[in-house]
Symmetry: C2
Subunit: 603 residues, 2 copies
């Protein structure tokens, strides 16, 4: 992987930072956040501005360019990758390390007095704007909204915004009609005395209307906004997507339903002026519900006295707890996924000795086998197919220039998943097709012990996922090892493979308590830079547990693995497992030997 | 325990809330925080305003009185106790339960429109003021500073503020002179470009000057403030405490030292006007370092542009990492403490069958035996000596009306500690002097497993204590049990038994990472309301660990128990312990049988 050469781009950006065509007064620094106007984690090519300017294409990272410096902050998953993709003009800021300054502190340390720091208010979240603005102001600087995006200004061949066909999902996939969901939302609004709700997260809008798109690779979402009042529904979306009869029928655009279920549609771009109109007509006590991670632009449209910002919207919370239909769909998706991966591993066992399998061809084969399963839509994220040292790059994606051939001498890590109409999968398996070293087996077994500790954990109702994170690390810590990423994330149902508001990570404290019906991943790992990477990931469903006692009638929860892909026994040092761990393994059927799996496909 | 009758007091307080003598305009609610002007956890009798108004005398709780309602918020340790100490005029707000509103939400739900909520700005922390004020303002109310404390106004026999003699500590106890500490503080100030530091926490001031007092029972501190500049030291303290030659000598008040080490003394009350004077002379870029938990009154003296508030002051951070002398002192204190408690338990084994030992007499005997040890100063907190159902009251304190006789039929819990000149102790042991039931043994053993899991945990340098909290609960959770308090707190060295900035609790996220030299408690528990309580507590020292590997050269830490008091084997269901747990027990010598301990005293 050779770094992107950014000398000329940085020169042009710095010129733009002084150009009166874009800004009234020159700015001394420009922030390029990772996300789009919806604070999406995965973004469309037209929104890959941070990648354009610095070369780093991981899913998380913020670039800041000053007159003299250029720096990019990312987390432990991406340290290696970012250092390989960025040239010497860039300083890699390793988040989570003690010596790494925050963006605010760094800016304050390098900026001349009374500096102006610019950012596009559409792609910075309102809460981030607030924190950044406060820190800069207290140090005598200011944060200014630059309406014309300066990256777009220098990005001559920027792709256009996608507008893919919409997919409608019926009750057999969703369990609830969009009308049911609107009614539930309105009852939450009434409960909290809220007049309007502004939906800006793409997966929340897709979930609410039981629609899917493919505007963003891997995430079946479409660019839209929605504003819901007690008797109004406004959907802001490119008009040409609403021409298909199935979509018009699904949204009941032509058959006038009950007035309060009538959807008024308007162009995507008109959300700003429409929200202004809504806000202009607000009564003195009316409140507008909005996520605090909404773009600064939209947040500022809502007068402060009328804002009711929340870390997680009612849609985010409702979407996280899967209903019976969604759970059944997720189960089916995971059965299909396991079949495809068992076929893959059987194929690999045969092919690898021939020396013809590469990281890319293995990932392609996995996609091919998944695509043969019923209701396959696409992958849920770029496959991390990595062998030997590439496995230590936590969010590695094989490229022609980094592509390695699989052999019987190196550890292979495959983190992959698919979107099926009935559910989303995400699974990581680490295996060896020859004889793993004692050290590889030892570290694999510590990771497995952590994986089992989370998966088998019993905990009281109301427990937040971050309290389970250390269980995943205990065995590694005891041997002086660790991994620099969280242990789990929420998983959508035929939606984003990463979703809030729950997760399992030492890094967050604001996660919502785990509830029966939530679905998260359990994926501890260990990474030996330059050598190998290990990760064992299942998607698990939160289910009620029935331990011996029931303290204060609180009830208990545990996890049930949805992932059914076998874990390679060859990688285990079974002597390090306790009897209990072995029995958990067997009881959740994750330890069956790959070669025992017969080739078969669910249709 | 009969509740305090508060009808008349509430009538008087509500009258004061409308009395123009104290406030320009009537207020609709009055907040009575728990702390004093130094945000102390334990407070002097003159500062026990919340207890005065509602009867509840636990260490944590906030009362709010409106025209119609009276409510008091406290945490899980105190639910039972508070419900017994408060009469029907009060609503107990159980913090940490999902259904309990925050103080802000509750106020907003009960107040008439445009209400004024009053509070004494000296006893509310600046950060609390800020949060409360923001929440009230956003709902159309306001938070107002009431300079005359309204509780003091109706408290006719309020005790006066204590001014006890000061104790000077030499190098053999402290390891560092106060001049060393001032120099270290100033170098931290220079590093962060800070001109002035305001010390308001009593334990920080005592630590800085190597002085102790006895103004607050159990906490060897004295009422004072300090302001330290790069060449100035101001100590605000009652003048008559500075008359003793030993104190004058210690502080070098009469022998003019180097100018920058000269301490200027001033009366305690003059801190406000002196800080005003300091702030008036500040240069445009000068910053004043202050804890964000400082009283609202003092914080507001510092102009906003000059404030540098921090969650933990440099003194708090320096004090937490004990030096070699302090660690040695803590070891000695714990040896002496263990001797006293072994004597106690031997005495109890003999006396209890006679039916003459009560909760109070056992606590008194513990104090008597401790007082025979060298350099004993006093207890470090009120002994929790509780038998049977009283054990389930987490912070129980035996009173004549609740005092139960120990028997061979009930579980006995003793949580107690002492202040010695060389260190502070805090230990809890739970035991049975007859035959414990299978259920008592089972739950005791789960608690023990949690205690061992924390004590034996190995974790990377930089880990925050809250990440270890779940280890203490795992065995309980697996059986559907839990406890409603944190697992550990920082412990001072001949200072407060509770100190920041580290701890082990699911409730905090703002704790500082654990470092070698820090000292915390490890005290999981289990409480069966109306039946018994179990807690096993050691004080443990954070020490470097040497596991097999050293990931990224980060280094690892673990704990070394300082507490040497045996844990009763009779209470254990050893069949529930793993081999590893048994070996940890034996290796830290906590499982030796009480009766094996020979009576002896360290002098």
């Amino acid at each position: 992987m050779s770094p992107k050469i950014t000398v000329e781009l940085l020169r042009q950006l710095r010129q733009a930072m002084r150009n009166a065509r874009y800004i009234a007064e020159p700015i001394q620094a420009y922030i390029i956040p990772s996300g789009d106007a919806h604070q999406s984690e995965y973004i469309a090519p037209c929104d890959c501005r941070r990648e354009f300017i610095c070369g780093f294409n991981g899913s998380a990272g913020t670039a800041i360019v000053t007159e003299k410096h250029a720096a990019m902050w990312t987390d432990g998953r991406y340290f290696l990758q970012a250092s390989q993709q960025m040239d010497n003009n860039w300083t890699l800021m390793k988040m989570g390390l003690k010596e790494t300054p925050s963006q605010e502190d760094w800016l304050i340390s390098v900026l001349p007095e009374n500096s102006k720091v610019g950012v596009d208010p559409w792609i910075i979240a309102a809460d981030q704007w607030k924190n950044m603005s406060k820190a800069l102001t207290s140090a005598g600087h200011s944060l200014v909204a630059v309406q014309d995006n300066l990256i777009d200004a220098i990005w001559t061949d920027r792709p256009s915004r996608p507008s893919t066909p919409l997919i409608t999902l019926d009750l057999t996939f969703t369990g609830l009609t969009w009308q049911d969901k609107i009614t539930a939302l309105r009852s939450k609004m009434a409960e909290r005395k809220i007049s309007w709700f502004v939906a800006t997260a793409l997966d929340e809008i897709a979930w609410l209307f039981n629609l899917r798109g493919s505007d963003i690779e891997y995430n079946p979402v479409f660019f839209a906004y929605a504003i819901v009042g007690m008797s109004t529904i406004r959907l802001f979306v490119d008009a040409k997507r609403l021409t298909r009869p199935a979509v018009r029928e699904h949204l009941q655009l032509d058959t006038p339903p009950k007035a309060e279920m009538r959807i008024q549609t308007a162009p995507y771009e008109s959300v700003f002026t429409e929200l202004q109109a809504v806000c202009a007509s607000l009564g003195p006590k009316e409140k507008v519900w909005v996520c605090d991670k909404t773009s600064c632009s939209l947040m500022q449209v809502i007068p402060k006295a009328h804002r009711a910002p929340v870390p997680y919207t009612p849609l985010c919370l409702a979407k996280a707890v899967k209903n019976a239909t969604e759970i059944q769909g997720m189960r089916m998706a995971h059965i299909k996924d396991a079949v495809a991966l068992c076929e893959l591993f059987a194929w690999m066992e045969k092919e690898i000795p021939k020396g013809t399998v590469t990281e890319i061809s293995a990932a392609d084969k996995a996609e091919e086998l998944r695509s043969q399963q019923k209701d396959f839509v696409g992958l849920s994220f770029p496959s991390i197919s990595s062998v030997g040292p590439n496995g230590a790059i936590i969010h590695y994606r094989p490229l022609p220039e980094t592509n390695r051939t699989l052999s019987q001498n190196e550890v292979y890590l495959l983190d992959s998943g698919a979107q099926y109409m009935d559910g989303t999968t995400d699974v990581t398996r680490t295996m060896h097709f020859g004889t793993p070293s004692a050290y590889e087996k030892e570290t694999f077994t510590y990771v497995l012990k952590g994986h089992i500790a989370v998966s088998a954990a019993v905990f009281p109702n109301g427990t937040k996922g971050h309290l389970l994170d250390s269980f995943a690390r205990q065995a590694l810590w005891e041997s002086g090892l660790d991994y620099l990423h969280g242990t789990g994330h929420g998983v959508g149902c035929f939606l984003n493979v990463h979703e809030g508001p729950c997760g399992i990570s030492y890094k967050t404290f604001a996660d919502e308590p785990l509830e029966a019906g939530m679905i998260v991943s359990d994926e501890p790992g260990y990474y030996e830079d330059g050598s190998f990477g290990i990760r064992i990931e299942n998607v698990v469903l939160v289910v009620p547990a029935n331990p011996k006692y029931n303290y204060r009638n609180k009830g208990s929860l545990t996890f049930e693995p949805l992932t059914l892909v076998p874990i390679q026994v060859k990688m285990m040092d079974t002597g390090l497992l306790t009897q209990k761990e072995v029995s958990v393994c067997v009881c959740v059927s994750v330890c069956v030997c790959v070669s025992c799996f017969k080739k078969h496909t669910v249709h």
